[in-house]
Symmetry: C2
Subunit: 425 residues, 2 copies
């Protein structure tokens, strides 16, 4: 038995293949010499690894690079736009979505549907989702892409290391494992993972958040706050998700902001969700959450309703969003003191409502973190809307599904040789 | 130039030497076969690495192991109690301390002094500390131990990747770098590091917190709350300190608990420190913080004063500690929702006062984290006094100073051959 950290020959080759593929995926097109400089291996070693990745169809040569007239033109390498694709699926409160992303990070197929899943049984929802997954995988087959794994985003807590949704209050789900149904009804190979939507939104920001030149990319330490019906957050430390002992980290919605305040469904008082959650904001804006939900099905419709009223200057809506921003600022002040992130990104509904939340949020956060030690020695915490917005969880899911390929490029059935063998061709 | 993660031959050998030394340090005495099983390398490879560590004097053979009558008795390996020693130093509010710890984790020399350092200039404090460091290194020389590095614990914020104390309000220090003075006045070799005392207390729990059989050891994810004059915390995730973007993570003392409440020195209102910090508790117990400080110099004397009054049933003291526990419970509820640790350990003064703080703290924390998803699916969060108590930061500092040896066993001047060469023997 070999310990996971041991430097076996096989483990070293796997890691070096992953480094080479990762370097081309991040910076391609790039020459072999460029890859060697990036990963810290000799050009000879990189050449061997590149050949293996070319044979497996994960890399392609893009023709000679521009050399500025000096030396022999070297061929440049890029990741393939055929071969493995990550399948991402999202179970939202009121909507389902599926997409496929290739190694270059581009969406190649997509399906979406509005559903009335609040309080509905998981079975029908998952069967509908399986149908959408089959539709997307059929479409990418025509593009010479094969599913390399599936990740499902859910608005709830997922027990660490499992696919079980322990609790998704806004779906009314408790201890639901979507994996067996999806395995039975779709042909997507392992790994099949289930993940909290705020975490996947944060992964999307990490993977896609920068501009073409990398500008605007999230820093390695940030907090990604996400809201649909509830409020969740992802804590990213050194570019990695912090999951917590049980997988329940990031429950910002139940951080106490006014400890003796409004009773919360969780049994406590004064939780952030009672001041900045969807129902609380609708109510404070003079709208009945139940009637708003009926008249504006799907969370995005209700967020649009608030945004339009705020843009039109409706005083009750503006006051509701201002107070929600203040409550967010108090909760985030605690999070900033504990975690010292470089930035706070507002995703999901909060991204859309950021123009009206940010002034009071930043005022409160600055007042509570303008602590003497920080003054003059460090930049103030940056608060901004997430770039991926409401698409974050779905994109993050598709990228998470590609992770297994990037971590172990030749290890699985997504390489043509192995998949032909498996299917008896 | 080689990237830090690259698998060069040199890097692999260094990591494997570290794994072998680490395995013996954690579990020794242990046979070569036991080491091989633990680190996942062949017995031949382990034999070569062990020989190098024996030659360097970092491992010793302890004679034949008991074999239960079967096979050839194999010699067992242990880490040496001579050779490199970690030097830990602590700058407390009112006290200085220095100790030396050998590779076996035992304290081999120690010095301590009470000082009136609150608001004093750094120069005299650091010169006094340098004298104590010289005293300790002289004493361990007679034990055939050589300093392998120095770590200094401070009650304040240290900018990440530097030795600069950005702010230590209870010392009155701002932007003080102790390193140049200590380098000039002591002969301790690099690395010289400066670290927040709550972080080092957490490291001590990680390294020493278990019983002889490992029972009571902290889990990989925990929060270590520490209080002397102020309140700080260390966040440990997967056995590693979470430092934050600027190195300021864990500022639990400024988490808002009653957002409209008492004004704090940091400029905000309702920070935890205003309800559970030393001055706040003394005041609530009917004691004048200034007079208590004069009559009971050193933070431990004031903590003892509170403990004695509480043990004697003094109503005002009991009420003050109960209210402090409630405030701690509110702040920790937020931290638990964000971080999902397995345990909260109370260190420093809080460990001593735990009997009177814990009932209200646990009541508040349970009420705020008894959230539906957790009920019945996960154990309740464990809250306990830290095992190292007030000694944690000093012990953690000494162990941190040994880290460089454990990470790169043959890389530095602590091996006899190299140090003899360096000193011209």
């Amino acid at each position: 038995m070999t310990a996971p950290g041991a430097d076996t020959q096989h483990g070293i080759r796997r890691r070096n293949l992953a480094r080479v593929l990762g370097a081309v995926a991040a910076d391609g097109p790039v020459s072999r010499a460029g890859v060697a400089a990036r990963v810290g291996l000799t050009r000879a070693a990189v050449g061997t690894l590149v050949d293996a990745l070319l044979r497996a169809g994960l890399l392609v040569e893009t023709g000679p690079a521009a050399t500025g007239g000096r030396g022999r033109p070297g061929s440049e390498l890029a990741v393939s736009d055929t071969g493995p694709a990550g399948i991402g699926a999202e179970i939202g409160v009121g909507n389902l979505a599926v997409c496929a992303v290739d190694l270059r990070g581009r969406i190649r197929a997509r399906a979406a549907a509005d559903v009335a899943d609040r309080g509905s049984e998981p079975g029908p929802v998952l069967r509908r989702l399986a149908g959408m997954i089959a539709e997307v995988t059929d479409r990418i087959a025509a593009l010479d892409l094969r599913p390399a794994g599936l990740t499902v985003a859910v608005p709830g807590l997922v027990a660490r290391g499992t696919t079980t949704v322990v609790h998704a209050p806004n779906l009314g789900w408790r201890n639901v494992d979507p994996a067996p149904v999806l395995r039975a009804l779709t042909a997507v190979p392992e790994p099949l993972t289930v993940e909290n939507e705020a975490n996947l939104g944060a992964l999307a920001e990490l993977r896609l958040g920068g501009g073409p030149d990398g500008s605007g990319a999230p820093p390695p330490d940030f907090l990604h706050v996400s809201a649909e019906a509830g409020i969740g957050a992802a804590v990213v430390v050194d570019g990695q998700l912090l999951r917590g002992a049980r997988g329940f980290a990031g429950e910002l919605g139940h951080v106490p902001v006014y400890p003796g305040g409004r009773p919360c469904g969780c049994g406590a008082r004064g939780c952030l969700e009672q001041y900045a959650g969807e129902a609380a904001v609708l109510r404070a804006a003079g709208l009945d959450p139940g009637r708003a939900a009926a008249g504006h099905p799907g969370p995005r419709a209700r967020v649009e309703l608030l945004a339009h009223r705020a843009a039109a200057g409706n005083p009750a809506t503006l006051a509701a969003l201002r107070d929600a921003g203040t409550a967010l600022g108090i909760a985030l002040a605690g999070a900033v003191h504990l975690l010292d992130p470089e930035a706070v990104l507002l995703g999901g509904a909060l991204a859309r409502l950021a123009p009206w939340l940010l002034p009071s949020l930043e005022r409160e956060l600055t007042a509570r973190t303008a602590l003497a030690p920080y003054a003059g020695t460090a930049p103030r915490i940056r608060v901004a809307a997430a770039r991926c917005g409401a698409d974050g969880p779905l994109l993050g899911a598709a990228h998470a599904a590609l992770r297994a390929v990037l971590d172990d490029p030749l290890g699985r059935s997504w390489t043509p040789a192995v998949s032909r063998q498996l299917s008896g061709e």
